[in-house]
C-alpha cells in the first residue's frame, strides 16, 4: 500500500471522527426530544439553523462589543447559544407543542404523532422563512482564528503526514464534553431522573409530585439547546443559510434510530457512524454520493439490527 493511500485513508478517518462528534451531539439533542420524550419534531434542523445564526451574532457581538477576538472566543459564543435556544425551545413547547404531546397525547390519534408532525413542520416553515426575512439568503460562516491552522502529525517515520484542522479538533472536543455533561445530567441528577420518569409514565410521575408539563418543557428546551450548540460548532467550518436545517434533520433522525430510541449514548454513536460513513465514502465514491452512502449503511444496519446499536427490545412493557 502506498504511503499516499494510507495518508488519504487516515485523513478521511480523522475527518469522519471530527465531524462525527458534532453530528453525534446534534443527534443527542433530537434523542432527548424524539427518543426519550417521544415527540416528533421536524423543526429540529431549523432550531439548529437558529443556533447557527445565534452563535454567529453572539460571536460577532463578543468581538465588536467586548473586543474579545482570541482563539477561544467563538466557542464561548457558541456555548452561550445553548441557554439562548433553551429559552426558545422551552417557550415553543409551552405555547404550541404541549398542546399535542405529553399528558395530552393520550387523547389524540396516534399518540399525538400526526398532530406533532404537522405542527412542527409548520413551525419549521415559519422559522425558515422568518430567518430568510431576518438574516437574508447569503451564505455566512463563523470565522475562528483556528480555522486556518492545523496540527500536523507525522506518522511512519514522516512518510505519512496527518493534518488535523484546529477548529474542527476543538469543536469535536467541545461536542464530547457537552455530551458527557448531558449524560451526567440526564443519568444521575434529580432533574434528569424526573425528566425520564415524566417521559416514561406521565401519570405515575404526577403521583410522585413531579410537575410533568414543566419537565416536558425542560426536556424539549434542553434538546433544542444541545442541537443548537452542535449547529454553532458545525458553522465554524461550514457556511450556512436559512434553509440548511432540512439537510440535517434527516441525518439527526437517522442517527437517533441507528443508536436506538431512548438511548442518549446510542444517539451519539449513531451520529458518529454517519460522520464516518460520510467521510470514508469519499475515498471510493464521488462526493455527490456521500448521502447515498449514509442511507445505504443506515438501511443495512436497520435491517440487521432494527432496535439500533443500544436500543433495548424490552424497554417499554
Amino acid at each position: 500500500m502506498s504511503a499516499q493511500l494510507i495518508e488519504n485513508m487516515l485523513q478521511a478517518l480523522v475527518a469522519g471522527l471530527l465531524v462525527g462528534a458534532i453530528y453525534g451531539l446534534m443527534c443527542v439533542g433530537l434523542a432527548l426530544i424524539f427518543g426519550i420524550m417521544r415527540v416528533i419534531n421536524f423543526a429540529q434542523g431549523d432550531f439548529m439553523m437558529l443556533g447557527m445564526y445565534a452563535a454567529f451574532y453572539l460571536v460577532l457581538g463578543l468581538a465588536t462589543q467586548l473586543g474579545l477576538t482570541g482563539g477561544i472566543t467563538p466557542y464561548i459564543g457558541i456555548l452561550l447559544t445553548g441557554p439562548f435556544l433553551f429559552v426558545v425551545g422551552y417557550a415553543i413547547h409551552g405555547f404550541l407543542i404541549s398542546q399535542v404531546s405529553g399528558t395530552r397525547s393520550a387523547r389524540l390519534e396516534g399518540e399525538g404523532h400526526y398532530a406533532q408532525l404537522i405542527l412542527t413542520l409548520g413551525i419549521a416553515l415559519v422559522i425558515q422563512n422568518g430567518a430568510l426575512i431576518a438574516f437574508g439568503s447569503q451564505l455566512i460562516s463563523i470565522r475562528t482564528p483556528l480555522s486556518a491552522s492545523a496540527w500536523t502529525i507525522p506518522l511512519l517515520d514522516g512518510d505519512v503526514m496527518l493534518f488535523v484542522n484546529k477548529a474542527r479538533g476543538v469543536a469535536a472536543l467541545i461536542s464530547v464534553a457537552t455530551i458527557v455533561a448531558l449524560t451526567v445530567l440526564i443519568g444521575r441528577s434529580r432533574l434528569g431522573k424526573a425528566l425520564r420518569a415524566s417521559a416514561d409514565n406521565p401519570d405515575a410521575a404526577t403521583f410522585m409530585g413531579i410537575d410533568v408539563a414543566r419537565a416536558h418543557r425542560v426536556a424539549f428546551g434542553l434538546g433544542v439547546a444541545v442541537t443548537a450548540i452542535a449547529g454553532g460548532l458545525l458553522a465554524t467550518n461550514l457556511p450556512f443559510h436559512p434553509f440548511v436545517g432540512i439537510d440535517y434533520v434527516i441525518v439527526m433522525y437517522a442517527g437517533v434510530v441507528l443508536g436506538g430510541m431512548g438511548s442518549i449514548g446510542g444517539a451519539f454513536w449513531g451520529g458518529m457512524t454517519i460522520g464516518l460513513v460520510q467521510q470514508l465514502s469519499t475515498l471510493i465514491l464521488p462526493t455527490q454520493l456521500q448521502n447515498t452512502a449514509i442511507f445505504v449503511v443506515f438501511l443495512l444496519i436497520v435491517f440487521f439490527r432494527p432496535q439500533g446499536f443500544f436500543g433495548r427490545v424490552a424497554e417499554r412493557t
Binding site: 425520564r196 420518569a197 409514565n201 410521575a205 404526577t206 409530585g209 413531579i210 424490552a314 417499554r316 412493557t317
Partner: protein, 235 residues
C-alpha cells in the same frame, strides 16, 4: 384526615361516581370494595387529581384539594400506588424509589425510608440496578408500594395491589401491608376486588356499587352483613 363529600365524577358525559362520600381518619385503614366498574379507581383519580370531579368536595387535613394542583398533592403527604402498578419501566429499581422520594418529606427521610423499604421487600435490594420493566408482576407491585412509601406519606392509597397476581403473591402483599402498617401507623386507603382479604385487614369499609356507596361501617359489621356475605364472600 381525608373526606369526600358528594363527589360526582366521570369521563366526558359518562358519569361514574354519583355522589360518593367517604371519610378516612388519621391512622385508620379503610377499604373500598365493590365489583368491577363500580368506580373505585375513579375515586382515587379524583383524590390524586388526574380527574377533576364534576361536583362535590374533597378535603385533606381540612384543605380543599380543588385548589391544589395534582403534582402538588403528593407533597401534602398523599401517596398514590396506582392500579396496574405503573412503575417507571425504563428506570432502574433504585431510580424508581428515588422518584418516590421526590417530595420534600421523602428526601429528608430518604435513608431511613430506604432501609425500611428494602427491609420489607428484600427482593428490591437484590434487583436495585435492574430496569423496573424487567421485574415480575409481584416484584413490580412491591416496587410500586415501596415507591409510594419512599415519599414519607401520611396517607397511602393503594389501588388493587392484588391485580394480576397469583393468590400466593397477593397474600404476601397483604401480609406486608399489615406489617408495614403495624410499624408505621400509616393511614391507608385501599381499593380492592378481593373483598374477603380487604375487609379482614381494614378497620372500616365502604361497599361501592354503580358509583354509589351502598354500605359502610366497621369491618366486623360489614363482614356480618348478609348482603356482603352473599354477594362478595360467597357464604
Amino acid at each position: 384526615m381525608l373526606t369526600l363529600e358528594g363527589v360526582h365524577a366521570g369521563y366526558t358525559a359518562i358519569p361514574v361516581l354519583n355522589g360518593v362520600s367517604i371519610r378516612v381518619d388519621e391512622g385508620q385503614f379503610v377499604a373500598i370494595v365493590g365489583p368491577n366498574g363500580a368506580g373505585k379507581t375513579t375515586i382515587f383519580r379524583t383524590i390524586s387529581g388526574t380527574l377533576r370531579p364534576f361536583a362535590g368536595r374533597i378535603t385533606f387535613d381540612g384543605q380543599d384539594l380543588a385548589a391544589v394542583r395534582p403534582d402538588r398533592r403528593p407533597h401534602l403527604g398523599i401517596a398514590h400506588v396506582p392500579e396496574g402498578r405503573q412503575v417507571f419501566a425504563s428506570l432502574t429499581v433504585f431510580e424508581n424509589l428515588e422518584m418516590g422520594a421526590y417530595t420534600e418529606a421523602g428526601r429528608r427521610a430518604w435513608k431511613e425510608n430506604l432501609e425500611a423499604i428494602l427491609g420489607w421487600f428484600p427482593v428490591l435490594a437484590e434487583r436495585r440496578n435492574q430496569l423496573a420493566g424487567t421485574l415480575s408482576g409481584g416484584e413490580q407491585q412491591m416496587l410500586a408500594i415501596g415507591r409510594g412509601l419512599a415519599s414519607s406519606p401520611r396517607l397511602l392509597m393503594l389501588d388493587e395491589p392484588s391485580m394480576g397476581l397469583s393468590p400466593a403473591i397477593a397474600d404476601l402483599i397483604f401480609e406486608k401491608l399489615l406489617e408495614i402498617r403495624k410499624h408505621s401507623r400509616l393511614t391507608i386507603l385501599l381499593v380492592e376486588q378481593r373483598v374477603a382479604e380487604a375487609l379482614e385487614s381494614a378497620d372500616r369499609g365502604y361497599v361501592l356499587e354503580a358509583g354509589r356507596v351502598v354500605l359502610e361501617g366497621p369491618n366486623s359489621a360489614l363482614r356480618a352483613d348478609d348482603r356482603v356475605r352473599q354477594a362478595y364472600l360467597g357464604m
